[in-house]
């Protein structure tokens, strides 16, 4: 997944206790493992398996994927703004490769 890129969209500054909407997108084929190539050879499954999100070191969201999730997975979810800190997004695919995005959230 070396070429995979990920994006996270969320506000930079929010009020304490606010509900923060977070949108994430990773470029990934999410190859199902069911397709065959032009010579009839099965194309190996290659999917994102896991997305974990921590806020100041504590897990706030996790998603387990299967090949039933569309290519270039988009995921939107929410969290409560507790304090100024770092949100760390880590996607892991079934080859063990990792993509990491870090976002700073300022809580006024």
């Amino acid at each position: 997944m070396a070429l995979a890129t990920a994006r996270v969209s969320m506000p930079k500054e929010v009020g304490k206790g606010d509900i923060v909407e977070i949108k994430t997108l990773i470029r990934h084929r999410m190859e199902t493992g069911y397709r065959v190539d032009s010579v009839g050879k099965k194309i190996a499954r290659h999917i994102v398996k896991l997305l974990t999100v921590t806020y100041d070191g504590e897990e706030i969201f996790r998603m387990d994927f299967t090949q039933g999730v569309a290519a270039n997975p988009f995921v939107a979810f929410t969290t409560v703004a507790t304090q100024t800190g770092e949100l760390v997004f880590v996607w892991v695919d079934d080859k063990g490769e990792e993509v990491r995005v870090v976002k700073e959230l300022t809580v006024a």
Binding site: R35, T66, G68, V69, P73, T79
Partner: protein, 133 residues
């Protein structure tokens, strides 16, 4: 040739088996969960899906997990989201693949151990290409 995708497709029975494994056989109630998905999905390769669960999302009373299941996909359980009181709301969206016209189920597991679901039928015009097509 058990590996042929057509033979590997889920069925309502396999979906129910997956549901049973997720709940440990406990009863599932209808309600509290709202699955928002198009009635007609023109492209089964990417179907925008939102699940919202009615919950205060407090430490004592919150949604722990949400699963999406499909009865006519190669595998019954498409995804699982893990939430908690820090989620603030139980509302998550993503794009799923649907291999055929079918019923889609959203299942929520609450912190009190209860299970809730919503089921929606989806007509798929162009199925996700899963058998080499």
């Amino acid at each position: 040739m058990a590996l042929l995708p057509r033979h590997a497709w889920a069925s309502p029975e396999l979906r129910d088996k997956a549901l049973n494994e997720l709940t440990g056989g406990r009863p599932i109630s209808d309600g509290r969960v709202t699955l928002t998905i198009p009635q007609v999905a023109e492209n089964g390769l990417s179907v925008y899906t939102t699940v919202q669960v009615d919950s205060p999302m407090t430490p004592d009373d919150h949604v722990k997990k949400i699963h999406i299941l499909a009865e006519r996909n190669p595998i019954a359980r498409l995804l699982t989201w893990h939430l908690g009181p820090r989620s603030g709301t139980a509302k998550v969206s993503t794009n799923i693949r649907l291999a055929a016209t079918q019923q889609v189920t959203a299942l929520a597991e609450m912190s009190d151990g209860s299970f809730w679901r919503d089921i929606k039928p989806v007509v798929v015009t162009i199925a996700a290409c899963i058998d080499g097509g």
